[in-house]
Each structure stands twice: as C-alpha cells, then as structure tokens.
C-alpha cells in the first residue's frame, strides 16, 4: 500500500515504541501533523519549541526511553537548538525531528529555511538530512539506535516537506546496519583485574560517580560495589541519587559547590574510582591539582572521555552497569574486606568541623524553603531544577536517596530548562509527584509552558525561589567584582506578579513569605490534583557556600577552611 513519507515516519516512530511526542506545527511539517491524527502517539502541543526539546529531555531522563520533539523548518527548528545542545552536554537520549523546505528549494533562502542540519552539527551525536522518501524508516531507526545506545545523546532527523509528501511503500528496517558505530559494552578483563588490584592496595579510596551511572541504570550495582568495598562515595550533580545520600558513606556532591568533606577526601585519596563521569571543570577546579595524590581508575562508555581532562592510570571502557557487574563478579571470587576505619574517621572529623550548613535564623531562607519542600514531598518525588543558586541549594540540601529523580541542566546550564523538564517528567511518570524548583530569573525563560501544564491537567508543583536577583550572578559580582551589581536585580515587586500570572494561565497561584506559613501551606499545595505555582519570597542576598572559585583548586576550598 502506498503511503506518504510522513505516514512512514509516524509508522516508524510507533515501531520504535514512541508513545508521546512534544512539538509545534508549521508549514513544513503539515504532512506529519496530518498523519499523527491517525496514530496512537500522543502529541503534546507546546507553546515554544524550546519547551518541546526540554520536555523530551525531562521525559527521557525519567522514563529511560528516547525523548522525541518535533518542529517545523526555520525558526521552529532553530528554537530547538538550545534543547538539543542541552541534551548533548548531559548525554540524554533524544530524537529531534524537523521539517524543512521542499528539497528543490533548499539552498535558495526560501521562506522559513534554515540549515538546521549544519547548525546543529557540533551539538548532536549524529544527524540525518533525508533526501529520499524510501530512506525515512531506516534513518529514523538508526536515529533511535544511536540516541539510545552507547553514550546517549541527541540525534536530528531533518526531512524536507516534499519528501514527507512523496509516495512510498513502508518497508521495516532490518536493523541499524551501522559499520562505524559499535559501542563497547563489556570492560576488558585485564583492566577489571588491574582496577581491583589498585583497590586492594589503596588505603584511602573514594568513588566519584556521575550521570553515566544513572544513564546505564547502574545505581544498584554502584551501591553494592561501594557497600562491599566499604568506600566513601561522592557524586556530581548529574549523579545525585546514584548512591543513597542518607548512607554514612555518602559524602554528597563534590566540586565548586560540593561539600568540604567530599573535596577534602578526593584531594587526600590515594585511589579515585571515577565512574560515569567526565572530570568537568566545575568538579575538578584546577585540573593539574585534582587527584594528584591518587591512582585514578576511570570507567566510561565513551573512549574519548579517557584522558580528555585528567590523565588516568587505569581506564575501563564499557557500559558502567556491565563493568560494575564484572567487578562484583571478580569480588565474589576474591573479596576485599577492609574496615577503613582510619579513612572514615579522618573524613568524619572534617565533616564534623565543616558540615554542610547555613545560618538558619528562622527567616525564610532559600535553603530552608528547599528543606521544607523536601519535608512535605513524597519520598520518591521527582525534582526538576533550573539553573542558578536554587539549583545548587537543591543539590546540596534536598538529599536524593534513589536514582532518576533529580533533573538538572548540568552541563550546559540552561535557564528555562526546569519547568518544561518537569512537564516531560510528569508525562513519563503520571502517577508520581513532580516538583520544579526554579528561580525568579530562570522561570521566566520558558514561562509560556504553564499553558501545557494547565491544558494537560498535570499536577506539577512549581516553586519559584524568589530572591529578587539573578542570584548566582549577583553572588559572583559580590565575591569577584567587589559587590558592583550590574543588571542582576529583579525586585520582587517588579513585574510579573507571579500569582496573577499563574492565575492568568488558569493555575492556582500561591505566595509564601514565612517559614511557618510555608510549613502550613505545603501539605495542601502538594496534595492539589492540578498544577500549582508558588512564589516563595526568600531572603535576598544569601550565597551558595562552600565555594571553590573558578579556576581554583578543590583542595584550596578545604585549606581555606581547615
């Protein structure tokens, strides 16, 4: 039976197991929007394509599936760019589908033409410009395979509108057939043995784990590994929840705003087990001093991450889950039984002396507000954050005890990510509680997606930690520019009035101004069956501490204080 290219596209999306697509229609994708009417796929109409890309991202982080977003040619496609870059930096599986002008018009500067294939080349894992209708199913199949396997990432599929309209007979692809793409899954047995030999010799080992652990679904293996070896664990912001933070072995987050004891421990460690991490500058600070006393074992599925930022002694290329299982199997043969009392005691002393804390004076401080949300939220609540001070306070004070619950734009640092990511998460987990913790700056970058929360009756709870400033920039200006505040003020009573704004979208709006009021109001807010937007008026000039200055050494944070 002859169908058109758009129908073949939808058929292939169904074959890939897609159930929800986030998108926005337009001229070049009209054939897709016609075909989608006859499909079981649910389409979520966003209000700006950037929202669609972040929703697909949030959906992917929670479901573990490939998130899908859809946009028209030209501005529709370019509006996806930030979200694609975001998914690329955080290694999130995503397929972005764009229509383009008819192939006979490509290169003519036609109406709504943009070379999205060229524009996105540096920020995709791979991309397709489909020029033949027969190639649609195979290109889409390859796109999903590439996005979701190996080190995940975004893949763009750009299809000109005449190709979407052309007649074809759907032929199911017979496999991805990619000669140049074969991710390594199993770790090399020799490296596994070498890693355990290093662990055996170590007196002060530490696990530094990141997003790769969550992406490969290896949180249980990581926990077992750390428990059996009795090793302290610190995580990156991407890795929060991979190891329960209420375990005494957890040192919380490391790096620029990490705990002083995590940074102290990684500086003193003689063995660093780096698992699913990429030695980002926000983690390492000055790279030449990071882990300089340690033998570094690095487990990652991407061989290009090995030795990229910090030289490592024992690399293990492979899927984190598989490699951890291999390590555990070796441990079955020859267990390691160390109490490491001295090491834990030393870390404990630093923790006691420099706990992660703030001056809780009874005012509604941002950290207190976040702790109150934690106090009243469900145990398995999903938290999507935006970017800035509130993001770091959430990372520091929320306490994540299980995986895939903290959604954060960690690599790109995209303000505006939080609310659409929360919406995407709610579509992935309709029965779970989802909250967005945002700031008064970030929330306004994708505010229009409130309409999606309302029209789809999503019970997301959006907390704006409102301190009247672009707080993180203000903090840097305070600390590094002698308090010369430049363009960072968003006075709480300046527009918009968040409560009225929420109400304009048909959403319940609340304003909380004191600890007592917030503590009283939260149970009712969180139990609401619909979306609620909460303007939390917190103290204004609170800083995120501790802090390693950019370019500084993580050891200095500790030395300053010790």
């Amino acid at each position: 039976m002859k169908i058109n290219g758009a129908a073949a596209l939808i058929k292939q999306l169904e074959a890939e197991g897609v159930t929800v697509v986030f998108g926005y229609p337009g001229g070049a994708v009209l054939p897709i929007y016609d075909a989608i009417l006859d499909s079981s796929i649910r389409h979520v109409l966003v209000r700006h394509e950037q929202g669609a890309s972040h929703m697909a991202d949030g959906y992917a982080r929670v479901s573990g599936k490939v998130g899908v977003c859809l946009a028209t040619s030209g501005p529709g496609a370019t509006n996806l760019v930030t979200g694609i870059a975001n998914a690329h930096m955080d290694s999130i599986p995503m397929v972005a589908i764009t229509g383009n002008v008819p192939s006979y018009n490509i290169g003519t500067d036609a109406f709504q033409e943009a070379d999205i294939y060229g524009i996105t080349m540096p920020i995709v894992k791979h991309s397709y410009l489909v020029k033949d209708v027969e190639e649609i199913p195979q290109a889409v199949h390859q796109a999903f395979h590439i996005a979701g396997t190996g080190r995940p990432g975004p893949v763009l599929v750009d299809i000109p509108s005449d190709i979407l309209k052309a007649a074809t007979v759907y032929k199911a692809p017979d496999g991805p057939n990619l000669e140049g793409y074969k991710p390594t899954v199993e770790g090399h047995p020799r490296q596994i043995k070498a890693a355990l030999k290093a662990v055996r010799a170590a007196k002060r080992p530490i696990v530094y784990s990141g997003g790769g652990v969550l992406r490969s679904g290896a949180a249980p293996e990581l926990t077992e590994f750390a428990n059996r070896l009795n090793i302290p664990v610190t995580t990156t912001v991407m890795g929060l929840g991979a190891f329960p933070e209420d375990d005494p072995k957890s040192l919380g987050m490391l790096g620029m705003h990490g705990t002083s004891y995590a940074n102290w421990a990684i500086t003193r460690a003689d063995l660093i087990m780096a698992i699913g991490v990429r030695f980002d500058d926000r983690v390492t600070g000055r790279k030449d001093t990071f882990g300089s006393q340690a033998t570094i074992v690095h487990i990652d599925i991407d061989p290009a991450e090995i030795d990229k930022n910090v030289p490592v002694k024992i690399p293990i290329v492979g899927d984190v889950k598989s490699v951890l299982r291999q390590l555990l199997a070796e441990l079955d043969e020859e267990p390691i039984d160390e109490n490491r009392d001295e090491w834990f005691e030393a870390i404990g002393k630093i923790r006691e002396k420099y706990p992660l804390d703030y001056d809780d004076n009874g005012e509604l401080k941002p950290q207190t507000a976040i702790r109150l949300v934690k106090k009243h939220a469900a145990k398995d609540v999903i938290v999507a954050v935006d970017v800035g001070q509130h993001q770091m306070w959430t990372a520091q004070y929320f306490g994540f005890h299980s995986p895939d619950r903290m959604l954060s734009s960690s690599g790109l640092g995209t303000m505006g990510f939080g609310m659409p990511a929360a919406i995407g998460a709610q579509f992935a987990a309709p029965d779970r509680q989802v909250v967005c913790i945002s700031g008064d700056g970030s929330i306004q970058m994708c505010i229009q997606e409130l309409a999606v929360a309302r029209t789809n009756d999503l019970p997301v709870k959006i907390f704006v930690i409102n301190n009247g400033y672009l707080g993180m920039v203000r903090q840097w200006q305070e600390m590094m520019y002698s308090r010369r505040y430049s363009e960072v003020s968003l006075p709480p009573d300046a527009p918009p009035d968040f409560v009225k704004l929420a109400e304009a979208y048909g959403i319940r709006g609340e304003r909380l101004t004191s600890v007592e009021q917030m503590d009283r109001a939260l149970p009712g807010i969180l139990a609401d069956k619909g979306p609620v937007f909460i303007d939390v008026r917190v103290t204004e000039e609170e800083n995120v501490t501790p802090m390693v200055k950019p370019g500084g050494s993580v050891s200095e944070q500790v030395e300053d204080e010790v």
Partner: protein
Amino acid sequence: MKITISALVENKPGVLTRISGLFARRAFNIDSLTAGPTENPEISRMTIVATQAAHPLEQIEKQLHKLVNVIRVTEMDPDNSVGRELMLIKVHAPPNKRIEIFDIVNTFRGKVIDVSRSTLVAEVTGDTDKLRAFQELMVNYGIVEVARTGKVALSRGR
C-alpha cells in the same frame, strides 16, 4: 608537530563537514585534507595532515572515531608508511631558460605538461620535503601559480 591521520569513512554527504568542524572545535589546524573513493565506492579514504595544538593526538583520534560515519582511524607512522603529494607549478620560462628548467624537472622525476610562450607548467610528485626543495629552486625563475593536492598516505606492508 605535524601528524598524518588516515581515516576510512562512509561516502555520505556531510562527512567532510563533520570532520573539518571537529578539528576546528578541538583546536587542531588542518594543513591539508584529501578525500577520494577507495576500492569500495561506498567508502572513502581521507588523509589529514594536521598541526597538533591544545590536545594530544589520541584525543582527536578518539573524537574522530566517535563520528558515526567514520569507520577506522589510523595515525600514519612516518617510518612505516608512504606518503605522496602532487604539485602543479607554473613558472616564468622564457625560451633561454626553458632547458634549464626542463633539467631540474627531470632531476626531480617530474614532467613538463604545458608550455606557453613565456611560462610552463610542471607536475612533480613526492613527499613534502621533495616538493619544498623543488619549489625553492623554481623561485629563481619566478613562480606564477602553485596548486598542491595535499598528502595521501598508506601504511607499508601487511
């Protein structure tokens, strides 16, 4: 330091852009890049001569390998590979100088492939040093134009 990388890539649109973009992003300068089909028309070989800058060579090799369309990447060991480049050079060649120039071209095992009243075009093949030496000799006569292919290379033996 100059390095020579040989890459087998799928013969698909956009591959050249991906590779050149990667070099630019990772702060490697490309000195020359040649591409052409292999014995298999679906696969092309690219030979890239680059100057190493901020990142070690291994990093760029791994980044290249990450590209889905790249099948194999090898660094060409100068002692264990052969590399050749072709140069076309147009020089001033008044009748009284022609014989001299012909002699030099012959010495370099090149060929004169076009002669006009005042100029001639010579074709010389060889490694980079040989071409540089030849070009230096031609300076005396006055070089009008030079076109070079960039290096192609294969490993020895196997």
